[in-house]
Amino acid sequence: MAPLLELRGITKRFPGVLANDHIDLTLEKGEIHALLGENGAGKTTLMNILYGLYSQDEGDIFVNGNKVTINEPTDAIKAGIGMVHQHFMLIPVFTVTENIMLGEEYVKAGGFLDRKKAAAKITEISDKYNLNVNPDAYVRDLPVGTQQRVEIIKILFREAEILIMDEPSAVLTPQEVDELFKIMRVLVDQGKSIIFITHKLREVMECADRITVIRGGKVIGSTTPKEADTKKLATMMVGRDVQLKIKKTKSDPKETVLNVENLRVMNSQQHLAVDDISFNVRAGEVLGIAGVQGNGQTELVRALTGLLPPTEGKIEILGQDTPQEKPRFITELGSAHIPEDRQKDGLILAFPVADNLILNTYFHEPFSKGITLQFDEIANSGNALVEKFDIRTPSVNTPVSNLSGGNQQKVIVAREFSRPIKLLIASQPTRGLDVGSIEYIHKRLMAKREEGCAILLVSTELDEIIQLSDRIAVMYRGKILDILDAQDATKEVLGLLMAGIKPSDEMKSQAKHEEQIILT
């Protein structure tokens, strides 16, 4: 029998880039097929072709053995293909029902929208696949994980048989990821099929039925979680051995670089998001901030970088008081910021790579003289950084919007690391990066620490926090519950703290003891 979906010889060229090079891929009914590959390998491009957002230069698509032509997303939907985009396409001020009906409206006599009928169908879908979504809730009130489920229902509402999910786990908390995997299982058990993209090898091992690895636009090979292990997958992806764990030297902290006392910050809805926080970071150490997303980390970072004025408290950078200062003042002190939302804050998507690389240094020599920009210098420095940080782009004149997600992140990292800095505030620095790039960025972070840079690392990835930090602060509901030495921090203890429970001292040593037993 013909497979549910077959891609044959799909080829896509962009100016200067062969993004997909004769890709063959099959998807069987009822399987979760993971697509793995380094940043810029061509995964998103392939999925965009399948969903009709791009058109392929060569190659054919077959559904149930029949050739289909997909020029528009509507063609894809007709062929039973749906896509959950990495950036959700929901309208916050609409209810779940209204969002789902959009473009597929049910109409009553007289031309009125039949919300009831739609809501009933949504409830039915939600129950069938355990999605647990209230059709009458407003999207703006829903956590990210639930919004993603709304996107899934939107696809199922249109009777899709094939679901494409491009890095669905990147924006989720670990708990939400677990839930998502359960839902994906239910979906395939009920006969749907899923193509799933991720950079997290652990997730692939956990939930995929089949794995296809793409590199440089070509299919490198296919395997299953049974046959492969994370190390093998990493090697297939990147084409060389990858160090998944990084060796950390003992820290030798020097003078205090960042000092925060009794800081309070309001979020945009005027709720107290950061509640009386005090801590410091010293030269040559990494302070990790762990916590479930949405416990005040975002606002803390925005306050430290001058983007959100705090209501109270003291922020000292290198002995300078900065609480009411502008971002420019703070960066000029020698502080760098890798923002959490790269597309919103960190990049000007319409600008070329070279311009993004000078986004906060353009007014300095040699990039400008007086008020005139020096394009030769800008291009030279851009080329050097592209080379050094292995940013995959046809040229430094390519708009950043044309780069793959991971390469966009590398542009930010390259920019922030290329200045002489004394303080680095890094928020989710490796989000969306492949294992090779994560290894590289972790190494650079450690090198900065060795050079005597103070680093504040905010991440929802516990592994990353534990691996890189010298001390770990856990945030919960705007407060720092505890600051632990890295050697005392186990996943169990951190997990408890992140849930708002302060473990007693015995529990800490107990947990540590157990971990040691496991390790030996």
Binding site: R13, F14, P15, G16, V17, L18, G40, Y54, S55, N71, R215, G216, G217, G239, T305, L307, K326, P327, R328, F329, T331, E332, H337, P339, K344, D345, G346, L347, I348, L349, A350, F351, D355, L359, N360, Y362, F363, S368, I371, T372, L373, D390, R392, P394, P399, S401, N402
Partner: protein, 414 residues
């Protein structure tokens, strides 16, 4: 290291060229203009009585009459805009200076009509580049005309090489003040610039009415008019009598280049474009978005002010009520057509200027109302604004990236 810079089996250069051309927006602009001309021609034929009469005789004579009407319309439009080639040739053979000037006058008159469009289009385009929707060009133009005319008649005894720049600067300053207000209000209070600039337009119209009847009225006249400006403030004309063409056109080209240089070659322009493209990113980069908003609106105002100055210093030599007919509003359309790029603005200003000038002759000669040119402009703009129509008519390829759209600040400012 895998490098995607070297891709194997590249398609041939020519194939890539056509591929890119069919995706590019330049092609869409060209086809939009062509399609607009075709449809407007059809409309002319459909609204002409003779065409129906001819159809009642036979189908073919109807078609012939329709084609003839459209041809007549467009050829008189062309002659109105560029001059009659036959007459020009004859005049040059005759060698009479006045005859030659009469023959070539339409072409230069079109350039005269183009000039305020260039200034106005630059004003709107600059605003768009910074994410601001400047509906106020018309009002800024009025104020600029008023301040420059004042500098033109009230200051006496200056040589032209000082008086002309001074009067132009006065116009720019007046427009800048009119742009500054909405910029400042937007930056400080979040008031939307669209509303404020519309209101500022009304204030400008009424203020100029008041000034013309009161403080700036020429005491020797019965109707509201300002005094004549000094000869030393008049923009130099390049030909003797009948041709009104003056140095304003070249000043406009110079200013267009200046705006291009400012936007794309300087750190200030970098800041302005960053704010326009992603205000959050601009704040992250340490750019003062408040300042950028105020500066951009003031600059946009000064450009529109120059349009007004150009009219009174180059053509009218005094200010009379309602002296312009909507240059400021047409400039919005024109900036969009020119993709908010100074070069694009100059090209679309030429298109608008030649159309506007040609349309008078067209009305005179073929009896087709001037409004057909407005319809033509509207059609072109519709196709530019909705490129999907053009793409599907001509089966152009879909671009692989989102088409550049105009972002303007949301309600409530930031």
């Amino acid at each position: 290291m895998e490098n995607q810079k070297q891709t194997q089996n590249k398609p041939s250069g020519i194939a890539v060229f056509f591929d890119e051309l069919s995706k590019s927006s330049g092609m869409v602009t060209f086809l939009a203009i062509l399609t607009g001309i075709l449809i407007a021609g059809l409309l002319v034929a459909l609204t002409t009585v003779e065409v129906y009469d001819a159809f009642s005789i036979s189908f073919w004579s109807g078609i012939k009459e329709a084609l003839r009407t459209a041809w007549n319309t467009y050829s008189s439009l062309f002659i109105g805009a560029f001059g009659d080639p036959k007459k020009i040739a004859a005049a040059f053979q005759g060698g009479d200076g006045l005859e030659i000037r009469r023959a070539i006058n339409p072409f230069f008159e079109s350039l005269v009509q183009t000039t305020p469009f260039i200034f106005g289009g630059l004003s709107v385009a600059l605003g768009f580049r910074v994410g601001l929707f400047n509906i106020g060009a018309e009002g800024q133009l009025f104020i600029g005309a008023m301040t420059s005319v004042y500098a033109g008649y009230a200051i006496t005894g200056l040589p032209a090489y000082i008086h002309i720049p001074l009067a132009l600067l006065a116009g720019a300053a007046g427009g800048a003040a009119w742009g500054f207000v909405p910029g400042y209000l937007k930056a400080k209070t979040g008031a939307h610039e669209v509303i404020i600039t519309i209101m500022m337009n009304y204030i400008a119209f009424k203020l100029s009415d008041f000034m013309l009847r009161g403080p700036m009225k020429d005491p020797n006249e019965y109707t509201p008019k300002t005094p004549w400006i000094q000869e030393s403030a008049q923009l130099t004309r390049l030909f003797p009598d009948t041709i009104r063409f003056h140095i304003g056109f070249f000043i406009a080209l110079g200013v267009a280049y200046f705006v291009y240089w400012l936007l794309f070659k300087t750190t200030w322009g970098f800041e302005l474009r960053t704010v326009g493209s992603n205000p959050n990113g601009a704040r992250y980069a340490g750019i003062n978005t408040t300042k950028a908003t105020v500066v951009a609106m003031s600059l946009a105002g000064s450009l529109a002010g120059l349009a007004g100055a150009n009219e009174v210093l180059g053509l009218n030599y005094r200010l009379v009520p309602s002296f312009t007919s909507g240059y400021g509003f047409d400039s919005i359309a024109l900036a969009l057509l020119g993709k908010n790029h100074p070069l694009g603005v100059v090209l679309s200003a030429l298109l608008f200027g030649f159309l506007r000038n040609g349309s008078r002759q067209m009305q005179l000669k073929s009896g087709v109302p001037i409004d057909i040119v407005s319809i033509l402009q509207a059609l072109i703009l519709t196709f530019i604004a909705a490129p999907a129509i053009i793409r599907s008519i001509y089966r152009l390829k879909k671009p692989d990236h989102e088409e550049e759209t105009i972002k303007v600040g949301s309600w409530g400012g930031n």
